[in-house]
Amino acid sequence: MKWALLIGALCLAGCNKPESTYARNSDVKAGDIKSGYAFLQDDTKALQDDDFANPGFLWVDRGKRLFETAETGASTCSTCHGAHGMPLKGVAAHYPKVDAKTGKLLNLEAAINLCREQHQGLEPLAYESDDLLGMTAYVASLSRGEPVSVDITGPAAKYYEEGRDYFFRRKGQFNLACSQCHNEHWGEKLRGDTISQGHGNAFPAYRLEWQDFGSLHRRLRDCDTGIRAEPQDYGSETYMAVELYLAKRAEGLAMESPGVRR
């Protein structure tokens, strides 16, 4: 009788379990946190480390030129953000952050465009355009080596929760959550590629798969299509919230933009 009850209990435990929208709780242990750099082949690391060969610098150079060039009727970025006031060294490591005035979460791209509109009277640059990528690459490069550190308190808290929700929510035809591969299976191999922990500290980055330079939102869109989930729009609040969540998760890792990745 005891056997029947035991088997019955085990059986019931396994069947018709209500399905969860979310993957189980997981994390990367504090001592195990590693940049995506650690998962690259030596040749790829060497490419990132060489300030000439790293193709990302084509965009950094473009951004620096834009930063110092006046568009018709406007002051240059360097006028305000020069050596004599509000230098941008180290700033990118603390993004995304909430805009005090509007309460909206801003990533680097959004902050640059807000600045253009409010302080220079200029049109925003299109997401993923060479010019916006250049500006973002240049500003981010001024934080190279700076440890990622974001504020998730106060007005940022709700965006952090939104990002965390997306990270753990199962989605797509494959019904997977980011956390499953990047918290639970990092270090394992998908064909020849090693699964990384999914940090964003090297973005915007040159991806060999793209043969092109791109933003973190472009990478997140690839992540979503990879599990056959409908990707969010560029510049979406959802992806900005995910950026904030990822940045908190990567806290302490050095900024590497412009990174080189697979």
Binding site: P55, F57, L58, D61, R62, Q211
Partner: protein, 104 residues
């Protein structure tokens, strides 16, 4: 965008390393888009470096060359003069940049 790495000065006879990179998609012509249509080939075909008017390095590119092609080569510093880098694509469009080398 073009990036050049070349010394401003060199001693007579010194071997100097020169690097050049150009932003270009180098679309092979073998890829297909989401609809299944072939993405047309769009590549740089010729690169030439002239130093003091003489060709010191020349390369013909084919679709196997990756995007944003990067070249590094050496030349011997013999006289003060311009080092000119030029690229020509399959449509005949050209890009070039020049760096001055002062030889002592």
């Amino acid at each position: 965008m073009i990036r050049i790495s070349a010394p401003d000065t060199a001693e007579m006879g010194e071997i100097v390393e020169v690097k050049a990179m150009i932003q270009h998609p180098m679309e092979t012509g073998y890829r297909r888009d989401a609809k299944g249509d072939v993405i047309p080939r769009n590549i740089i075909k010729q690169f030439r470096c002239a130093y003091g008017g003489n060709t010191v390095f020349e390369a013909t590119f084919f679709p196997g060359i990756a995007a944003n092609p990067f070249l590094a080569f050496c030349l011997r510093a013999t006289r003060t003069g311009p080092i000119e880098f030029s690229w020509t694509d399959q449509h005949g469009e050209t890009w070039s940049e020049t760096r001055q080398l002062t030889v002592s």
